[in-house]
Amino acid sequence: MTPAVALARHELHQAARGRWLVAFAIGFAVLALGLSLVGLRVEGAAGLEGYGRTTASLLNLSLTLIPLVALLLGAGGIAGDRETGALEVLLAQPVTRTGLLLGRFAGQVAAVGLATVLGFGVAGTLIGLAAGSSGAAQYLAYVAIALLLAGAYLAIGTVVAVCSRARLQATAAALAIWFASVVLFDLTLIGLGAAAGAGARVLAVAMLFNPVEIARLLALLVLDPGLEMLGPVGGLLTARLGGAGAAGLLLAALFAWIAGPLALAAAIFESRDPL
């Protein structure tokens, strides 16, 4: 077992012991089932709504909650270790700084991934049993996009962690980034569109700077590639690249949002005194 794998295992172990992983999984299961139930009540029926509508209902909620949880987890890790002194003990082992960073990141991805898969998995199974399997593939694709989004924000959180001296500082920075990408970004784009008359091309480029928007568009492409739901940016991308090409570009952008921040975090961690 390499040191990075040992660290990943340790991170997952700690997440499981800390009970947040179970709480996160239960939260997602309850949300998914709740939205499915509420959806049908609104239509005057009883029982569980199918995958397609449930997935659409979950989208906005997930795009808000997953970045928050992932940012806080990613930012707290190394910054918290620095504060408690655990980082000194870990870095005194025969592990490189990049190895330590990647090991912890892998463990965090596994922890969030496990919670997400468990939560959505339990809900998905119950929905499938009650309402049939129509739309199940879209539901699975949506869960995969949620995992990628979690990976991107865990990586951004890792950059915050290596730049922060203490957990509180890291938490504050993580919350600011979350607010900027989930709330401010949208408002800024709307403002740009209205005031400066920015076209779909400008908005499409701007959108690539925010993993939440990338994941939203990708999920919409998977759910319903109709132009009405996709909006002008989605319309432009599908017109230029086709549905598969647009999805490929957005997937690549999400992966870049994982690899880029991780590379930046590793470069910062290697170049500075870590303690």
């Binding site: 390499t2 040992a6 700690q14 002194g85 870990l90 005194a92 025969p94 592990v95």
Partner: protein, 297 residues
């Protein structure tokens, strides 16, 4: 086993280490002495590659700056306040640290440090002394030939401290290179084969521990309410080996290590009243090291 040449480290405008050069051969038991802030922790962290520095540091021939991972594979480290994962049990802590070294855990170390019955106990509920011993067991995973201890006795009582120093001497006798950083000098001095004294980042002594004897001093602090102060001054003045300092308001007598109780007996015989008396741990006085000739080897 450990070699430093021109080792310097600055934190902003403060020089934490200035041009430190020395070699610690394999199998030695070296004491790294100095007051708080002398640079002891910084030096150990440089040996581990935890700080960037100027100069060179080698462990077992590996350049720490270029191949820190290989150098650290040879080193077990016990920091002053070991922050071990508190959620893990003692056995799990050993498992983690062994895996980080790519080895299988050696649980027998729990027995060797007296924690066999605590194998299933979470590390967070251990006392300071027990946590220190668990940190030693964790540091021994991977069987490293070099052991670095940063003020391990600071939070221990006298009995635990003596037990720790015995353990370290035994590890050294078994062939490991042991470096013990401490500001408390007297107890481990007898077991050590080498002494290094740092003063504000400079290496002011590097040689045999025995030759340091005269520089190891012990402070006795008398809190007085006025009565007896003149008599105490007179008594101290009659003992040329004892220095007097009243700058803090209290009467502070600094004696050679091990002679504090001689002074206390004399004070008691003379019937000098004191509100409180505190005998501090012996520590090395760098000014006396420099005065006696500095580098001793």
């Amino acid at each position: 086993m450990i070699a430093m040449a021109g080792l310097s480290k600055r934190f902003g405008r403060v020089a934490a280490l200035a041009d430190v050069s020395t070699e610690i051969p394999a199998g030695g038991f070296a004491l790294l002495l100095g007051a708080n802030g002398a640079g002891k922790t910084t030096l150990l962290r440089c040996v581990l590659g935890l700080h960037a520095y100027e100069g060179t540091v080698r462990v077992g021939g590996h350049d720490v700056a270029r191949d820190g991972r290989a150098a650290r594979a040879l080193v077990g480290y016990v920091p002053q306040r070991p922050a071990l994962p508190g959620e893990l049990t003692c056995a799990e802590v050993l498992d983690l640290f062994a895996r980080l070294r790519g080895r299988s855990p050696r649980y027998e170390w729990l027995d060797r440090v007296g924690l066999a019955e605590s194998a299933s106990t979470p590390a967070r509920v251990l006392s300071g002394g027990m946590r220190q011993r668990l940190a030693l067991a964790a540091a021994m995973q991977g069987d490293p030939p070099v052991l670095l201890f940063d003020e391990p006795a600071a939070s221990l009582d006298v009995a635990a401290r003596r037990a720790l120093h015995r353990d370290l001497a035994a590890l050294s006798e078994a062939g490991r290179t042991v470096v013990l950083s401490t500001h408390l000098a007297a107890e481990p001095l007898a077991a050590a084969t080498r002494a290094l004294v740092l003063d504000r980042g400079r290496l002011v002594y590097d040689g045999a521990p025995a030759a340091l004897g005269a520089a190891i001093r012990q402070r006795v602090v008398f809190t007085m309410n006025g009565a007896g102060r003149d008599e105490l001054r007179a008594l101290i003045a009659g003992r040329p080996e004892v220095q007097l300092d009243e700058s803090s308001g209290a009467v502070v007598a600094t004696t050679p290590a091990g002679r504090a109780f001689e002074l206390l007996a004399a004070v008691a015989s003379a019937g000098i009243p004191a509100l409180a008396v505190r005998v501090e741990e012996p520590s090395v006085d760098p000014s006396l090291v420099v005065a006696s000739g500095g580098q001793g080897s």
